[in-house]
């Protein structure tokens, strides 16, 4: 079987409305893919930066996949949450990005968005926090039901990923 190694970090986030953030991530792949070792999901620390404009998580990622076919190439799902001064957490953004198909080192920026509700919901969110969130996060990575959503752009999440491929060429797959 062909093997894929993904080693890197969930580095940072920027351009979110607040800086005290944390992120829940997970990696998903098709049925041809199997995780041999490594964590497939996780949650980062909460960083309140005082150094620069980015929120730094430096969360290590190290996953080993075995693959029988390239359908369902692995992708990362991220959910960024804001941790406020009262200890509440509210959703700030959803996003996904594919693992690059080129072996080597990559910086991957994942742009995120959040659903917006009606005027009353937004008014409530402005004063109380919280706001609309997805009941099923499937919308994030499945393109079929997106047309019903109304969304707003939020910040970007940055990954530093190193991809090592093994034996793909043996099966005629060129990366």
């Amino acid at each position: 079987m062909a093997e894929l190694f993904i080693v890197g970090q969930l580095c940072s986030a920027e351009r979110f409305p607040a800086k005290s953030l944390f992120c829940k991530w997970s990696i998903h792949a098709g049925t041809n893919w199997k995780i041999i070792s490594g964590h497939k999901e996780g949650q980062t620390q909460v960083d309140s930066p005082s150094y620069d404009n980015r929120t730094w998580w430096c969360h290590p990622i190290d996953i080993h996949f075995a693959s029988k076919g390239i359908q369902g190439w692995p992708k990362f799902h991220v959910q960024v949450y804001h941790y406020d001064s009262y200890g509440r957490s509210e959703i700030y953004g959803y996003g996904f990005c594919y693992v690059p198909t080129t072996p080597g080192t990559h910086t991957v920026d994942c742009h995120t968005w959040r659903p917006i509700g009606n005027l009353r919901d937004e008014f409530r969110r402005f004063f109380l926090g919280g706001g609309a969130q997805l009941k099923t996060p499937d919308f994030v990575y499945c393109g079929t039901d997106r047309y019903r959503l109304h969304t707003e752009a939020l910040g970007t999440v940055r990954f530093r990923l190193n991809v090592i491929a093994r034996n793909f060429r043996r099966y005629g797959v060129e990366l």
């Binding site: 190694f5 309140s48 005082s50 430096c58 093994r166």
Partner: protein, 189 residues
């Protein structure tokens, strides 16, 4: 296709480099410790796994840099890229009462491509989880710190920690591989 591309064999990763410098806007007189952490299939062949630097003072110009120029020279062997070595840097400084206080922890992977590269590691410190602990740590001068910095190389168990990033460290690596491509691994080189 040769047999060696399917069989698992030992490859070597050799890294030389240095912990160059750091920038912490609010602190001075700092030293750093480093430790390499790697997965179960990995083993150190030569070199030292951990080290501790001199105490350095900030430069007296507008750069305000702390220069350590601290050497790293280590070789690993493994059969499996999973568990790739990570460098954990922790920076300590002296406070006004002469206590050792942690100024930042940082982590990065050893480069996975060969050749020269430079990495900027952002350094963060854990924060007290409650107001009461914040108060007692301010009174006693003991800041929260990790019992074992090796924890940072692991992805799990981080959801309970709150941190503040407050500086960065530049590290320079030169990496050489041996027999890596021979066993069918492609890393873009």
């Amino acid at each position: 296709m040769t047999d060696s591309e399917t069989a698992s064999g030992v490859f070597l990763v050799s890294a030389v480099g240095q912990i160059e410098k750091a920038h912490f806007p609010n602190f001075d007189n700092m030293y750093c410790k480093y430790v390499f952490v790697c997965g179960p299939d990995w083993e150190i062949v030569t070199g030292i796994e951990e080290g501790i630097s001199q105490i350095a003072q900030k430069s007296q110009d507008e750069r305000q840099l702390v220069v350590w120029n601290f050497p790293l020279d280590v070789s690993f062997k493994s059969t499996n890229p999973h568990g790739w070595p990570q460098l954990i840097v922790s920076v300590y400084g002296l406070d006004t009462f002469g206590n050792d206080v942690v100024r930042g922890y940082g982590v990065c992977h050893l480069p996975l491509v060969n050749g020269q590269s430079s990495q900027k590691i952002t350094m963060f410190v854990p924060e007290s989880s409650s107001m009461l602990q914040k108060m007692t740590s301010w009174l006693t001068g003991r800041r929260p710190e990790y019992v074992d910095a090796r924890l940072l190389a692991r992805g799990d168990g981080r959801e309970v920690t709150r941190v503040r990033s407050q500086g960065c460290v530049w590290v320079n690596f030169n990496v050489i591989f041996k027999d890596f491509h021979q066993y069918g691994f492609e890393n873009g080189n």
